[in-house]
Symmetry: C3
């Protein structure tokens, strides 16, 4: 069994949703947990994380552990996603680590009826790999204590220190060694708030730095060690557009999952990585991207930022404050650069089938053309561009399909939502392609 | 004693100021050194680096070593910052490394009266960690020769090769081993000019690439090994605005210190990381950031790049060449995205105290609101946004405060400058918070 | 012999040109190979890669191996660049790896007359360093089988997995160990398409992410281990401008070579890194860079995006939609920021000689001034800026010169093209400087 293959049930995790385990001052400190435990469909995350760490005040965490037991034993069996409580840990505090062991022993006791529905635990604030191994050892002790199979409880970690970021680069060498069970690792989750503290970074407004390198390194470690990369919380919870932009940026790094702080964020994050139902042409007009409207097979620009007129010797294209005098070829080239096509699920499947046919016919590489007639101010311009496809391109285009297939197989509670979006024919072809 | 805690006197270094040790053709080759040695207040750096390497011509370096002895023995006792001369070293040249040992033995001789005021030495042009260990060994030999405590001389390195960048990633594993004294490490300083050469990078204008990854990796290594990250020289010495932008970018990476080539740069770099005296709202209008002016509690935009008018069915917002037709909610959302608040030292302390109170009351996380009335072309728009604060947010906001506290404790010569900026009440609260 | 020095004949590789080895359905499946083998001058790459992997359909690869033998044995002796066939390999497939050995044994058989003209082989789809060592071992076996000197066949790898990216960071430690011959390593080539697949990255349009960190890490590994960094294919083959922008971006990372898919791309990529024949001033007007035209020693802006007029109390500078009211000093500062000079080969040599003279005169650092009179709408503005040059600056400016010298020495077939571009005097001074 190779440690760099994804060995857990889920090969993709879109959503990592945390819920405080105990809130003081309510009649029932577990109210939020109970509500979250009954979510389903697009509101239910791929991974639910009852959070007995930072989201819960330190003096409420014993009660929080009991709430996890009560709520998961009651609702866990029907929960559509996986359940991974987060428990306390800190690389710098033996007291906190000891607390981790005690809470894990409590929650994992089979007599209490929760562990049967728990897939693993999330360990925050890890340091270097020697620190990860200490946590792994507690999992092993707990498994042994309760007769669970060694390695059966998944361990996920929150990367919130430079030491942990460096540690990820060595996972491939350390997993599978006889003195640890690090093969239990499942998700690598960035925790940018604490990471910012650990790196001592400062921004003028107090907002978080983008941490591009951290996200790249997390994704790379997930790739090298067969794990799942998940981005941290997006704490401006009203900013839906910003959350989507962050997810697009994450996906371009291979980090396909993200933390969600509210059920609303869960819905957005469950849907965001699914390929669109309809393909669309867009024009990127100096930073603002505008969708073109399809009319009779043409694609019409209706904004007021770009304008086009014919002149005696060619064309005048205005983009914002900029005026460009162009001949026809230059106009086409300019539009090829400004326009882009966002393929639908259907389109992606089409392209993959086209390449499969070419490969059958003995061709290693083919040029795949993308063409359209774009209309600006009534003037039609036909544009086209080529892209070389070879086996590698084909494999790379498999990622959104594989994610889709993983969701479809593992989340029957979302079939209804998916059937509302995609036609039955597309669903079937998407499930069949590449296999 | 843990190697990943910052063990030296200074936990933060804002400024790393180099001075040539000997300039030919002057009556007194040490004139620049003497002048630099008498700087004080905001003109004096946190770390002063008499530079017996690249800033001094090779044939002047023996004289430079003598000048260091003369000037430091005379002025060192009263110098308000730390003193770390840079001496010769090269990973590819045993001759240069031997020169390093000879100059260090000369400068560190207690009979010459300088070493008593010298905190450490800066080693340039290091390669991989085995090369760092060779330099560390020379420190140990020098300490032994003169009866100084082993490890008492700090060693800082200039990262100017790919090998050194990679080496930083392993410091945590190597420091503390019995055969080295790498615990003496203090600052990791990027040297982007030589690094550019080593990486063989080429830009059309000859200006330096931004080297984002290098700066991230330096900051990360500093975090993982308890060291201080410092950025390299900004060689367009007249470009004050560019220097500030670089520092803002550095701080977002956790690299809180920067090299200074002139006393003018020292002043800018000493002040730049201190939180502002007054909070302010800004509008980012397509790249140009404009401060809003407070009038009767409102925040007024006075520029000509953004304009706003009411229309029959909503609002017309013009940003540069772009016109947006918006209803009231869309207008608010647009302005929330365009506006940002830069908190003052006072504001930061307020927020931290608010969270401390919530934590006392058993809440692990609270929503912190930021609201304002913004006025554009006489139209008042009330905007507000929320941010989730938990323990991690609180800890992350501690960085500018901790830096401030470190400066205040270690630089009494700057108290007068600070008292001119901040009120006594704010200074007191800032020194008390988080402790 | 130090493993971190570049030991192969070429210290720089501008172009890595792949050609399918066998295309089905043509009368002669080797037609593309034969055509490529006869390229010369700017159309011939520094490294030619008959591609018996992804560019060739799996069922054509035995025929492809034979085609390599036939074509290289016929044309190889006169080929002006190096020849490095790419053969099959996959970290996850022992069958593919065995195929690699068989094809290499076939192609390298001296009796077949090709190996005499082959400089090495390219191994795709490598994983961690243990996987690289398996490939290295096959090279050693082949060398031994045919009495070739151990290590004489260069090995280059395509980095297309997170594991390989991590592996690059340890090359310096592994090369030179007694049980491998990894000193044979020559090029580290990014393969972003397969890398995208391995990282599971997804973009809305299906285009490749920029992978900044990968390219940085490749360049860094090349620096630390004495290798050559080459970027992967640019698959929008009609987009010449985009290809050039990518190369400029690569060079700022130290990745001086790039893959070429067509002879047209080879020409662009061979010429792109050569310093320009004429220096030029440019104005960066909000993203669009415009060349200024030299007239009587002044530099005139002829675009319509920037305009300038004198007012009663200063100047009004318009850049796109933005109007700036400035006094003379502010105008100069604004223009210093907007303008930049792209030095010619001649200029670079001049500056280096100026610094050499200063160093002779005992100066370690000098301020190098760059000044010009810029004309906008008839108004002349004199601007100037300083840059500190020290030994490091001088060394960093050596990179484009060293590349130029390497090309001139190794590619006599391009002398004619170079003589058409540069004057004889400049060529001579460029070949002499820095030596």
């Amino acid at each position: 069994m190779r440690i760099d293959k994804r060995l857990h049930d889920r090969k993709f995790v879109r959503t990592f949703f945390t819920t405080p385990t105990a809130v003081e001052g309510e009649d029932d400190s577990a109210k939020m947990l109970e509500k979250a435990a009954q979510l389903t469909g697009m509101q239910a995350p791929d991974v639910w994380v009852p959070d007995n760490e930072d989201a819960t005040a330190p003096n409420m965490r014993d009660e929080g552990a009991q709430n996890i037991i009560d709520v998961v034993s009651e609702y866990g069996e029907d929960y559509p996603g996986e359940i991974h409580p987060r428990i306390e840990w800190h690389r710098d505090s033996p007291e906190t680590r000891h607390q981790c062991l005690k809470h894990m022993l409590n929650i994992a006791d089979p007599d209490k009826g929760a562990i049967q529905h728990i897939d693993g635990f999330v360990i925050p604030e890890v340091g270097d790999l020697d620190d990860w191994k200490k946590a792994d050892e507690f999992f092993t002790i707990v498994e042994n204590e309760y007769g669970l199979e060694e390695g059966s409880l998944a361990m996920s970690v929150i990367i919130e220190s430079g030491a942990a970021e460096l540690g990820m680069g060595r996972l491939r060498d350390e997993m599978g060694k006889p003195s640890n069970n690090l093969q239990r690792l499942f998700m690598l989750v960035d925790g940018e708030v604490d990471y910012t503290k650990d790196m001592r970074a400062i921004t003028p407004t107090g907002e978080l730095p983008p941490w591009d390198e951290l996200r790249h390194n997390t994704s790379r470690a997930a790739s090298a060690a067969g794990l799942i990369a998940v981005d941290g919380p997006y704490d401006d919870i009203r900013d839906v557009e910003g959350y989507h932009e962050r997810m697009i940026d994450n996906r371009a790094k291979g980090q396909l999952g993200i933390w969600s702080l509210t059920p609303g964020q869960v819905v957005e994050a469950n849907k965001s990585p699914l390929p669109p139902v309809e393909g669309s042409w867009q024009i990127d007009a100096g930073g603002r991207v505008v969708d073109l409207v399809e009319e009779d097979g043409n694609h019409v620009y209706n904004g007021d930022r770009v304008s086009l007129e014919e002149t005696d010797d060619g064309y005048l294209l205005t983009v914002g404050a900029e005026e460009l005098t162009l001949d026809e070829d230059e106009l086409k080239e300019e539009l090829v650069n400004m326009a882009q096509y966002i393929p639908s699920l259907d389109d992606i499947v089409d392209s993959m089938e086209e390449f499969e046919a070419a490969k059958e016919a003995g061709k290693g590489a083919i040029a795949m053309e993308r063409a359209a007639t774009i209309v600006i101010d009534g003037i039609e311009v036909h544009i086209s561009s080529d892209r070389m496809w070879d086996e590698a391109t084909y494999q790379a285009m498999m990622a959104p399909i594989a994610l889709f297939q993983d969701v479809y197989e593992n989340r029957p509670d979302q079939h209804e939502d998916l059937a509302e979006l995609y036609s039955e024919d597309v669903l079937e072809r998407a499930m069949a392609v590449g296999n």
